[in-house]
């Protein structure tokens, strides 16, 4: 079964068409990478999948587990198992990380008709997932992402992914701003979540991340369209030849 099916998707942002007919399917259990130069529409694709306001679908369809995703609000999508790890996680001073995690987790559970978790059980669950990502108690007690380093912010995104256990995870430039150790740590976190029941879409500018998170398929996005698709070695090719050759093709 296809976890995600994007069919001839057109998206307009502030009156300008950014995505011009994207077609892409990700079966359950697979990791697909979307690579592309700046301005090719990578972030627009991730925001559109997550349902951000202002990203208007003017044509085509997005199906998630066979269900039309477009009319759903961002929170309804999250409750159904769609997760977007942001390129720039937002700092929210005044909201303690742990409180945020508990609120989000229980909001999702409530939306799915599952019982909420109490503070103790949430804390146990968070601690268990946090250890593997080297996220300490202190970080959990601090305001969400406020004053976190780039690496800490990305690890916090992966912690949320581990906690919410989405079935479709979209990672938007998760490698940006990470040094090699942080990158490895984040990639390990992501790889630990690969599963036959989960699909992932890894969006990146550089091949580097794909050495650690090896994708099943690679798609090249340029000018709002997928211009080329292939196996994991396509990423290596791009690393050598750059995007110019692809865009010309």
């Amino acid at each position: 079964m296809n976890m995600l099916e994007i069919d001839n998707l057109h998206v307009t942002v502030q009156g300008k068409e950014i995505l011009k007919g994207i077609t892409l399917s990700i079966p359950a259990g697979e990791v697909h990478a979307v690579m592309g130069p700046n301005g090719s529409g990578k972030s627009t694709l991730s925001y559109t999948l997550a349902g951000r306001e202002g990203y208007e679908v003017t044509g085509g369809h997005i199906y998630y587990k066979g269900e039309d995703l477009v009319p759903l609000s961002p929170d309804a999508r999250a409750a159904k198992g769609v997760f977007l790890a942001l390129q720039y996680p937002v700092e929210i001073p005044g909201v303690v990380t742990l409180t945020f995690l508990k609120t989000a987790l229980n909001a999702q559970r409530r939306a799915r008709g599952e019982p909420e978790l109490d503070a103790m059980r949430t804390l146990r669950l968070v601690r268990e997932k946090a250890t593997a990502l080297k996220i300490n108690e202190d970080m959990l007690r601090r305001p969400l992402n406020a004053g976190f380093s780039g690496g800490e912010k990305k690890r916090m995104e992966i912690l949320q992914m581990a906690l919410f256990e989405p079935t479709l995870a979209i990672l938007d430039e998760t490698d940006s701003g990470l040094d090699i150790d942080a990158l490895k740590l984040v990639a390990e976190g992501v790889n630990a979540l690969r599963s036959p029941s989960r699909a992932m879409l890894v969006i990146t500018h550089y091949q580097r991340l794909l050495s650690y998170i090896v994708p099943d398929r690679v798609h090249v996005l340029a000018g709002g369209r997928i211009v080329k698709s292939g196996g994991a070695d396509l990423a290596l090719e791009l690393e050598k030849s750059g995007y110019e050759g692809v865009e010309a093709a």
Binding site: D75, L86, V90, G94, A107, Q108
Partner: protein, 435 residues
């Protein structure tokens, strides 16, 4: 009492007539010291009358226009009243003032209480020495009126470590009413006081609760002042507060305004000696009406410090006004002051006016100020929603996050819970008014 005619183009007359007609029956009538102070206060008030927008310090808040023409002085209340207790606090002294009259009081060991509605020749010296010396000048015209026209109130003298709960109620009435009350608190040297002050009003008719408050903090005295004002849709709350801080005295205040048609806190803090410190935090949550906090922070001596943080959350057609003047007098070297006004506007018709001012006549001082007015951060809202938090809940979380630092460091857990319940109610109303 007789009903007083009131015309908008002759604004001061409402209060002037009250003074002329009723002064002979005011509490303490015939006491020379009090008569003199009432008269001086009436003269000070007469300079502006009930302020219109033409008075610079009131240019964002038109009290004269808001005040109903047929308001009469509120009478002593004789019904039964379920006094609202927003603070889950037991122990300490407890005072209930209804329509400005002291209705009930429970004392505490380290506190002397005097009913200002019953002043006579036995008035203790500490009341005579202090009552009406602050919050009674032309710069605080409603404060002046509250002294000149005072019908009731309370004076408290505090020694040791004490807690005081002060609740003001304006029950429903058939008439539009005005009440004038005063509160004087003298914290003796080394005393520490936690003061919880709450205001509530009910009913359809308009009530103006006009309160003048004087806080005298002697050397080393510490005071934590937490004030919560809710109010009926047509209520007007004006409080003029004067505080004077002696050497090493500390005044920390959290004011919360959550309702009413108009509220104005007119504050004048004098840091009179080295080591004096004042922290003023204000939180306003409103979807209608005006919440105005106007402060004067007077660094009158060297080595004095002040911090002011005002946060407003405004939805619907509400308006918040924050004005703050910090003045550093000649010779007040090493003064250290900071003020920050922030407002969150939740609807296109919400408004926030912020006006920080600095007057510095000394060298070697640190004075900072800042203002920020904006909407909820769209990136943050999307982030929370993308994590499964529904829109209303996400907005509530962000609003609470916005207010968090203003609430931090005050009271204990029980108080914060009680405040949180109030805030939840105010925020709930805000969400309803703000699609």
């Amino acid at each position: 009492m007789t009903a007083l005619a009131f015309k908008r183009d002759t604004t001061p007359n409402l209060f002037a007539q009250d003074f002329a007609q009723n002064r002979s029956v005011f509490p303490g009538a015939g006491l020379a010291w009090l008569e003199a102070r009432r008269s001086a206060a009436m003269d000070a008030f007469a300079k502006t009358g009930v302020p219109t927008r033409r008075v610079e310090a009131w240019k964002y808040t038109d009290l004269a226009n808001a005040l109903e023409a047929d308001a009469i002085p509120a009478a002593r209340f004789h019904g039964s009243l379920d006094a609202d207790n927003p603070f889950a606090i037991a122990g300490g002294a407890e005072l209930l003032l209804v329509n400005g009259f002291l209705q009930r009081s429970i004392g505490a060991k380290g506190i002397e209480i005097v009913d200002l509605g019953g002043l006579d020749s036995n008035t203790p010296d500490w009341v005579k020495e202090n009552l009406g010396l602050m919050a009674a000048g032309a710069a605080q015209p409603l404060g002046a009126a509250s002294l000149a026209l005072m019908r009731g109130g309370a004076a408290l003298r505090v020694r040791g470590h004490e807690t005081v709960r002060l609740h003001f109620a304006n029950p429903a009435s058939d008439h539009d009413t005005v009440s004038h009350a005063r509160v004087l608190i003298v914290a003796e040297a080394g005393a520490s006081l936690r003061l919880f002050e709450s205001h509530s009003s009910e009913g359809e008719s308009q009530s103006l609760a006009n309160l003048g408050m004087e806080l005298v903090l002697k050397s080393g005295a510490k005071m934590e002042h937490i004030r919560v004002q809710t109010g009926a849709a047509n209520a007007l709350h004006v409080t003029s507060l004067g505080a004077s801080l002696a050497k090493d005295a500390e005044y920390r205040a959290l004011y919360a305004a959550m309702g009413g048609r108009l509220s104005r806190l007119d504050i004048d803090v004098k840091l009179g000696s080295a080591g004096a410190h004042a922290t003023l935090h204000n939180v306003a949550v409103l979807n209608a009406g005006i919440a105005d906090v106007t402060t004067v922070m007077d660094h009158a001596a060297a080595h004095t410090t002040s911090r002011q943080l005002f946060k407003s959350v405004v939805g619907g057609r509400g308006r918040s006004v924050n004005q703050g003047r910090v003045s550093v007098r000649k010779g007040a070297v090493k003064s250290d002051s900071h003020q920050l006004f922030k407002a969150l506007l939740l609807s296109p018709r919400a408004e926030a006016d912020a006006k920080p001012e600095l007057e510095i006549f000394a060298d070697d001082v640190v004075c900072g100020h800042g203002t920020a007015i904006g909407a909820l951060d769209a990136d943050a809202l999307f982030y929370l929603r993308a994590r499964g938090i529904p829109e209303l809940e996400a907005k509530g979380l962000l609003i609470r996050a916005f207010l968090a630092d203003a609430l931090e460091g005050f009271g204990d857990e029980a108080l914060r819970d009680a405040l949180s319940v109030r805030l939840d109610a105010a925020l709930g109303a805000l969400e309803e008014a703000t699609p």
